[in-house]
Assembly symmetry: C2
Homo-oligomer: 243 residues x 2
């Protein structure tokens, strides 16, 4: 027991809420691992683990994500820090939560390390979760619901090339509201942040849709010039203003 301190110290962990989008269902998914060790052995949980003493916290999140699921090169942002004294039966554990967005093409995932199993779950059909992971996940959901409307993070959930209908489905899924096709296309195309490609969908049993790519460089250029991304929930005239 070599590590001794004058005052007691908490352990610090990271946990990752990994979101993925499945446009077949269509459904927002979360990546969970099945714990191989106590506590909560066999229970589903968010991927995560202890922060090493010499690594930045975000690095720990990326490392644990790769160790437990094989994922690399993900979009990752800090979500919230959970530190209630009783959230972990092993003692005082403060967890810095991150959320990640990954494109389905990257979805080759592999159970490893502390995990005996890794699996995508629909956010609407979640198993019981270890610790306070349900709270963390819910916090992550709120975050991306709030954030997709005014930052173009949704593209992180799509493959590099996607049809407009795929983007629309994504927004409809996250915002839980139907959008008008013509208005959606008009608005997103007018923004000028999509690059129209000369490629089309393959292997579909109907007319193939044109593919687009998110033009990140142009977007950042426009932001500098005062552009303000905004793609809100479309409400009907009735619900818009009551009374």
């Amino acid at each position: 027991m070599p590590y001794t301190y004058e005052y007691p110290r908490p352990s610090v962990t990271v946990d990752c809420v990994v979101f993925g989008f499945d446009d077949k269902e269509p459904d927002l998914k979360v990546l969970l691992i099945q714990r191989a060790a106590e506590p909560f052995k066999d229970c589903w949980a968010l991927p995560g683990g202890f922060v090493d003493m010499d690594e930045p916290v975000e690095t720990a999140a990326l490392r644990e994500l790769e160790e437990e699921t094989g994922l690399t090169d993900v979009f990752l942002e800090q979500l919230y820090t959970f530190g209630n004294p009783n959230r972990d039966p092993r003692g005082r554990v403060i967890s810095v939560a991150y959320y990640a967005l990954i494109a389905p093409a990257d979805k080759q995932i592999a159970a490893a390390s502390d995990a005996q199993n890794v699996h995508w779950f629909s956010v609407n059909q979640l198993p019981p979760l270890a610790f306070d992971h349900h709270l963390i996940l819910e916090t992550g959901l709120q975050r991306i619901r709030g954030k997709v409307s005014y930052q173009p993070i949704g593209f992180e959930l799509l493959p590099e090339k996607f049809p407009l209908s795929g983007l629309q489905k994504l927004y409809e899924t996250i915002l839980e509201t139907p959008l008008d096709k013509r208005n959606f296309r008009k608005k997103i195309l007018n923004m000028g942040i999509l690059k129209e490609l000369d490629e089309f969908q393959q292997d579909v049993s109907h007319r193939a849709a044109r593919l687009y790519r998110f033009d990140k460089a142009k977007y950042e250029q426009m932001v500098k010039e005062g552009f303000y991304f905004e793609l809100k929930e479309q409400r009907t005239r009735e619900t818009k203003r009551k009374k």
Copy 2:
């Protein structure tokens, strides 16, 4: 040295970015303390300190704030967690930062505990700060700039009763942009979240303005019914869409 662990553990602290608004200058202010102990003795810093083992992190933030500045009953939200390995010369210290908004009427502050001095600084005239507190403060600034536009947190910076011009000055200060008086009044009054009082400014050397109060209960009621607060930067027609 009674506390021994199998693995090394970081220390965990909290830091608070306390914002106040001065409508005389008008200026956005931050409350800083002058450190009484090493490291960074005599240097200005954000109020904060170590998290006790049996208290929630947010409780620690509130406790440290009271201990060092005498402030209680503040609006407080978690900001971000800073955990780079070298941010503190004493070793690995991970800090959970919060930001607080307080009304000027509450501004009776008192140096205490670890602080030899407490002082309001304009965010535009900051002294050198201890640790990475400059980064934390900057992060807090960005947060409230982003947040005032779509959540009515600005009222936390005003006294309970305020004139419309005070609210407008607040928004102009935080957003760093001039707003049109008539449009501002029209918009905020139409929202219906302000209660018109039968009281007026006192001791002003010109016509006294009517005072208003933020009707929080009504606002929350309206949010439930789908109301969406939004008070954006007003841009001119020219800058709005280029080309």
